[in-house]
């Protein structure tokens, strides 16, 4: 056994280096479907941001009424509003793409026949509407 083989068990003498085409970092800008794919993947940043933002809002809420009002006042700044419009659009893109993929993950059968994809998507959109109504009610029902 040669010296490098003993030092590294994964070392293979004279292992061929196969040809690999170099990919540019921005390979996904070349085609609309690739850009959509990367945009969809990047929506996870908006998801994480919104989760942490909820905690920040609860923090301001816990500090008292004056801090809560100051927190809301700061969010009225056009810079924040513009940034949040962007985040919101990413969240919508996540929802639309996620619910659109639902029929691929969920195959429902009625008797022997498979439920059509459109019905599965419609069911998920109904769930989205119900969840949104629930969130709205949580914030607004008897809090005026």
């Amino acid at each position: 056994m040669s010296e490098p083989a003993r030092a590294n068990p994964r070392y293979t003498p004279y292992h061929p280096r196969w040809h690999r085409r170099r990919m540019p970092i921005f390979w996904w800008l070349g085609r609309l479907s690739y850009t959509r794919f990367i945009t969809r993947e990047l929506t996870s940043l908006a998801v994480a941001y919104t989760a942490l933002f909820l905690l920040a809002a609860l923090c301001a809420l816990a500090y008292g009424e004056a801090d809560w009002e100051a927190f809301l006042a700061r969010l009225r700044h056009p810079g924040w509003v513009a940034f949040h419009v962007g985040v919101f659009l990413f969240l919508l893109f996540h929802t639309v793409t996620w619910l659109g993929l639902a029929p691929k993950a969920l195959v429902l059968k009625v008797g022997r026949r498979r439920l059509p994809d459109a019905a599965v998507v419609a069911g998920h959109y109904a769930a989205w509407a119900a969840a949104s109504a629930l969130v709205l009610a949580f914030f607004l029902w008897r809090t005026g």
Binding site: L55, L61, A62, V81, W128, S132
Partner: protein, 116 residues
């Protein structure tokens, strides 16, 4: 692409977090980003505090935050692999993503136990 034996576990977190985020976050963001700050809707501070202080509400917030963070961790990890071609940093990226999500989840738990 590297496949770890823990993959199914993280995929389950990714998938449930993705579903929860898809259903809940647009409405939540619309309220927190726009409706309350811009005065489209109004909610009394004391009533809102009381509502979020309920143990069940805190549990739901914790579940939502934790699953959203692990959804991010799993998806962002593969975004870095595929988008930026950082295959040689795969282990480091996985540790940073899942580790970051774990730390933030622990922080959220600590905060929500102490809340308000």
């Amino acid at each position: 692409m590297i496949r770890l034996p823990r993959e199914p576990f993280f995929w389950a977190l990714f998938s449930s977090g993705g579903m929860l985020a898809a259903l809940v976050l647009p409405a939540l963001a619309a309220i927190l980003f726009f409706a309350l700050p811009l005065g489209w809707l109004s909610a009394d501070h004391g009533a809102l505090l009381e509502r979020f202080a309920h143990p069940l509400a805190r549990l739901v917030v914790f579940g939502l935050v934790a699953l959203c963070l692990f959804h991010w961790a799993h998806r962002f990890r593969y975004t870095l692999y595929d988008g930026l071609q950082l295959y040689h940093l795969s282990a480091l990226i996985a540790v940073l993503c899942y580790g970051g999500a774990t730390l933030a989840t622990l922080g959220a738990a600590w905060f929500l136990v102490a809340f308000p």
